[in-house]
């Protein structure tokens, strides 16, 4: 493989988008109101679209003729590199919005930096995806603020979601020794930079939402290394069923 470090990096980006997109799609037909049902499935489809571009590029870097379908439908659980946060179950609406918000606040500064990537393909994907991601972050910020600073019940649910999901946030900034080389050649930004911006966004929105960041700083990790929670297997069973049951089918 000509650039294994970059392949792994792009695969992580693609898997994050794919798994969160699939999760969010589970709300289709179950949204709290019609308008939000459509909003969530729009975001889901944006993410799946990003996953297609990213996984296609990963396949190209891999050089074994795999396209996005091969990478999405024909890998095993331990071959996925998405962060654990994104495979967590939807829970209630507050939980889904909080998960999405914590991710969007990470993805937006990342895409902003990837715009300047010396790798043209990555820069192009970032440019297209950033427009979508800016809107996702706006949408989820508005909701986190309204839920947190809403009724007693919505506040409670939003705080519970934050307490539950906070422990998965550190893993978003996972960086390997190989990545440091990519940073040095200007292909990707350093995760420290992204984390600073993420923390700024998250703090200001959570403050406005009157929500409190948990003091317990125990953090989970594993997804980036292919060690997943029990939830991913079930998600993949849904996602991959058709391709596994009827190999090579198209519809």
């Amino acid at each position: 493989m000509k650039n294994e470090a970059l392949y792994n990096y792009v695969l992580r980006l693609g898997d994050d988008s794919l798994i969160l997109g699939q999760r969010l799609g589970e709300w289709c037909g179950h949204g709290p109101i019609l308008e939000e049902d459509i909003a969530m499935t729009n975001i889901s489809l944006d993410l799946i679209g990003q996953a297609m571009s990213l996984l296609d590029y990963a396949g190209e870097l891999d050089g074994q003729g795999k396209d996005h379908d091969a990478l999405a439908f024909l890998r095993f659980e331990n071959e996925y590199r998405n962060a654990l946060l994104l495979e967590q179950p939807n829970g209630d609406f507050a939980n889904t919005m909080m998960r999405q918000f914590l991710f969007d606040a990470f993805r937006k500064p990342l895409y902003e930096k990837l715009l300047d990537s010396t790798d043209q393909q990555i820069a192009a994907i970032a440019e297209k995806s950033l427009k979508e991601t800016r809107y996702h972050l706006k949408h989820t910020s508005e909701w986190v603020i309204r839920l947190g600073d809403g009724t007693d019940e919505s506040h409670q649910r939003a705080q519970t979601a934050l307490d539950l999901l906070w422990r998965y946030t550190d893993e978003l900034f996972f960086e390997t020794a190989d990545d440091v080389a990519l940073v040095a050649s200007g292909i990707v930004p350093s995760m420290n930079e992204i984390k600073t911006q993420w923390a700024k966004t998250v703090q200001s929105v959570l403050e406005e939402a009157t929500l409190v960041i948990p003091t317990n700083n125990w953090q989970f990790e594993g997804g980036r290394k292919g060690i997943h929670s029990e939830h991913l297997g079930f998600l993949l069973a849904d996602l991959q069923y058709m391709q596994r049951a009827y190999p090579n089918m198209k519809w």
Binding site: I33, E35, N42, K138
Partner: protein
Amino acid sequence: MSNREWPLWEVFIRSKQGLNHKHVGSLRAPDATLALANARDVYTRRSEGISIWVIESNNVHASDPSDADSLFEPSDTKVYRHPTFYEVPDGIKHM
């Protein structure tokens, strides 16, 4: 289960530069910011617009349908209000 519903909003979309905003439908949202967001998601998914207006439905005042005969029928017999009785001079094109 609460029976309080979010207010209804009327959505107007401008499809391209130079055209008017046109009423396209309505939706529910808790406030103006989310009404705009919802309108974007519900009514512009297929590139229908470049600008959105929303207005709370209870701010719209409508004419009473039962007044239609006194409001609108009188103009039916006033054909002279249409500019069809003028001769267009020869030199004028595109009229």
